[in-house]
């Protein structure tokens, strides 16, 4: 298993931890509510330390304001399930990448009308400007309107075939 794959699939392997993971994994991104924090690769680790439940998440971008909402939602979900002592920690290393987004997440994103990120590959090289597929009509004949979009993680595109604008979840 490559390092990339290890970081991409951090699900715990004990039943007790997996139960917590599955609860935390129901929390969604407040900006893109079709994606769970597991789909995004933001949920990094779950552990039981004594009577404390520890959940680690990682911000997509350094200034991402959605982290606080995700943290609160994780605490709420776990409290509701009977876990009293919950600590949610943000970790910065290893740095988040869109390569951690699950295939299911990418599919849900497309159905929601946001183009999924192009793969960056294991070496982390920069995207070479391959065509971004329009999530509405499937055309590759699209054009970037703005490299910055409604949130840090998106850029704005327009489809030259169906003329519809759409968000692109930037590879990062």
């Amino acid at each position: 298993m490559s390092t990339q794959e290890m970081f991409a699939r951090p699900r715990p392997d004990t039943e007790a931890e997996l139960a917590i993971w599955n609860l935390a994994a129901t929390v969604v991104d407040p900006e893109i509510p079709v994606l769970t924090i597991e789909d995004l690769g933001v949920l990094r680790r779950v552990a039981i330390e004594g009577s404390t439940v520890l959940v680690e998440i990682t911000p997509t971008y350094s200034g991402c304001p959605a982290v606080d909402a995700m943290r609160d939602d994780i605490v709420t979900v776990l409290h509701d399930a009977g876990y009293e002592d919950v600590v949610v920690r943000s970790v910065l290393a290893p740095a988040w990448t869109t390569d951690w987004m699950s295939d299911a997440g990418a599919k849900k994103l497309e159905e929601y009308g946001i183009a999924a990120p192009a793969p960056r590959g294991v070496s982390g090289t920069v995207n070479l400007g391959l065509g971004i597929r329009c999530p509405h009509c499937g055309s590759l004949h699209t054009r970037e309107l703005s490299r910055f979009g409604s949130t840090s993680c998106k850029a704005l595109y327009v489809c030259q075939r169906c003329q519809e604008p759409f968000d692109y979840f930037k590879e990062h």
Binding site: S62, L92, F148
Partner: protein, 269 residues
């Protein structure tokens, strides 16, 4: 699968540094404070463009870039604050002008769009060089903050480089304005690469700014020439930001940035 958990659990907590047991050593905190101030001051300046940029897309772009920088500032100031039991807000809102360590480039008024693009080009390339080097720091928290930041500032370089080219090679008028923007910001370049008094004793942990100049010179002059513009000549500004010496621009900016927190200490919303 145990193995994968082990790898992830070595992750360094940094955003929630305040909640963790990580405490920055005094010298590292002093160094991080300067870097955090650079990012904070420029983030605030970029925020001034929101609803004022030449087009809606640029309101969004400059706002997004500012948000990334604010994220870097929050991590760096929080980390610095662990040494003195101070929060990021204590450091951002309750220090006076001569306690700020930011280099003078960042506090300059936003000027017109060309001035801002010129500063963004200089600042983004500088940050990219800095964070690339700092991601190899022996201090795991600084390394983690830098490794995350470097991917973001690379994208910022691209934004300013594209605008530099578009304005430099656009009309005669846009060319003149872009040249004036470069001329206005260029005197503040030199200070970025002068020795950082707080980095001196931190070999292997801090980055000596003097070592970043070659990387900057390998990128920026070429971009300027390719955009049909001239590399400005002339005197450098006096500098001194790291030791609390600032141009007249910082005071009014801090007054605006700090007024709410000072009028209503502890206010949250």
């Amino acid at each position: 699968m145990n193995h994968s958990n082990h790898v992830v659990s070595t992750a360094i907590t940094a955003e929630s540094i305040a909640d963790s047991s990580v405490v920055a050593p005094e010298a590292v905190a002093q160094y991080a404070l300067g870097l955090g101030d650079d990012a904070l001051v420029l983030a605030h300046r970029l925020g001034e463009w929101i609803a004022n940029a030449p087009e809606l897309e640029e309101d969004v772009a400059l706002g997004n870039i500012g948000l990334d920088l604010l994220g870097h500032a929050r991590s760096l100031l929080t980390y610095a604050g662990t040494a003195w039991d101070k929060s990021e807000d204590d450091l951002a809102y309750f220090r006076v002008e001569n306690e700020f360590r930011s280099r003078q480039l960042f506090e300059q008024p936003i000027g017109d769009f060309a001035v801002t693009i010129a500063r963004q080009l200089i600042a983004s390339v500088y940050f990219a060089e800095l964070y690339r080097a700092l991601s190899r720091s022996e201090d795991p928290t600084l390394a983690a903050i830098a490794a995350k930041a470097v991917k973001e500032v690379d994208y910022h370089v691209d934004h300013s480089a594209q605008w530099l080219r578009r304005l430099g090679l656009g009309t005669k008028y846009s060319h003149e304005r872009m040249q004036r923007g470069l001329d206005a910001m260029w005197p503040f370049v030199d200070e970025l690469f002068r020795a950082d008094p707080y980095a001196e004793d931190l070999v292997g942990i801090a980055v000596d700014p003097r070592q970043l100049r070659a990387g900057f010179e390998a990128v920026v002059p070429g971009l300027i020439v390719d955009a049909g513009l001239e590399i400005p000549a002339g005197e450098s500004a006096q500098g001194g930001g790291r030791t609390g010496i600032h141009s007249e621009a910082l005071g009014p900016m801090l007054a605006e940035m700090q007024v709410l927190a000072r009028a209503h200490p502890g206010a949250t919303w």
